[in-house]
Subunit: 254 residues, 2 copies
């Protein structure tokens, strides 16, 4: 096997203080660093002497294709992903491309986990994910809307906390309002909602609201929307979902 | 306001290479470090000169109580949590206790996110969380089993990938098998399953299997079980859930 290795590296929200040493090492060891152009600024000083391949937003297939190609040619490639590469990110795009290749020609692959938007937004809000939750992307680019609706309905009916990725963009401007209508069949108007935009980035913002009052215009493609379960509530500015439904006693988990 | 501050710090799976600089700083700045005794070994060298309060497994309420008490007395307290403190961990326990206090006596609180067992296990398996997923704890200590069953049923019917926390322990030995029976009403016997035990720890193990063949005896309280959706599949050793149901083209997300 060649020395080529492809690392899909989760760099966290962007700042150096949530970049893990494992991700840092993967960047340092790489000959080629590849990713969405916007991420390069965050790790600029780590990239001296390396080949950098910056690609525009949306070019995931192209990023994956080039990363695999360079790895096969013998390079150590770091494909950078913001947050965690496993959650709506590059890991699945790459592995899907590997699947289409002959098994023996697939290069060595490592996935380096990161602090995802989910972890980051939850930390800023307090403890919204303190109990069972469902993570749903509202993007219907690759998933038919009726599948997304079915999941929203199921998750709402079974009282999951919901974390909504890709909640709204310029082209996808009606999905969040539809999602809210579905949730309101099962949740009170006053269900707490946290909208975190650009968590742990310089232009971070946190909006605390309630399901019926949520303004979709306050949400964009850099936002994560967390909708509470029936037990969630605000405590001061914190969004709390308690651990269970019974009286909280001494549990067993560490 | 006093100088007291309570930081609930996610230290990741345990090894230093997935501990973020933000978590490291929170530990360094603390006067008092408090947590489950088993975690102290992982951060031992960072704790010189600090007061350490190690508590047994299961003593979450006691940990939260002491952490708040020491903070109010003016200390900078770091309450350590493995993984991410927001996911089935200490953040909700602490905020629930703050809720029971008079608002003006609540101390300053910061939640430091971490690489959770979810992120870690997914990275080791490849890309099982590449699309929508539901996170469910099978512990019925604080949640009635019928609520858990309802969630399993809903998530299975709506074709979520499932991540099962607290899947099995010595005292809770039948829940995983029941969960599997529920899932098998909606999923094929051959649905891929990944069982990750102690991700990124020295005794890490990864088991790849299929839903009908999964051996509950291979699962314990240190395991996270990830059950694929109808689109999930193994590619070599990787567990892949593709990003959507439509033909994968150039998407819009970064």
């Amino acid at each position: 096997m060649s020395r080529g290795q492809l690392s899909i590296v989760g760099i966290g929200p962007g700042g150096r203080d949530l970049l893990t040493p494992q991700a840092l090492a993967a960047l340092r060891e790489a000959d080629v660093v590849l990713g969405y152009a916007g991420y390069f600024a965050w790790v600029q000083d780590l990239l001296a002497g390396k080949e950098r391949i910056a690609l525009p937003i949306g070019a995931e297939q192209e990023r994956a294709r080039l990363a695999i190609e360079r790895t096969i040619s013998g390079c150590r490639v770091a494909l950078i992903s913001s947050g965690d590469p496993g959650i709506y990110a590059m890991a699945s795009v790459v592995i899907e491309r590997l699947e289409a290749m002959e098994a023996r020609s697939r290069p060595r692959l490592v996935v380096v986990p990161g602090v995802s938007a989910l972890n980051a937004a939850a930390a800023l809000l307090g403890a919204p994910l303190g109990h069972d939750f469902a993570v749903i992307s509202l993007s219907d680019l690759l998933t038919p809307w009726h599948v997304i609706e079915k999941r929203l309905e199921a998750a709402a009916a079974a009282d999951f906390v919901l974390a909504l990725f890709n909640p709204r963009s310029q082209e996808r401007d009606w999905q969040l309002d539809r999602a809210r209508s579905i949730l309101l069949r099962h949740r009170l108007n006053t269900t707490p909602v946290g909208i975190v935009r650009n968590a742990f980035r310089p232009d971070e913002s946190i909006l605390r609201t309630h399901l019926a009052e949520m303004d979709p215009l306050a949400v964009d493609m850099f936002s994560l929307v967390i909708v509470g379960s029936t037990t969630s509530r605000f405590v001061d500015d914190w969004l709390l979902t308690p651990r269970g439904y019974k009286q909280s006693g001494e549990g067993k988990s560490a």
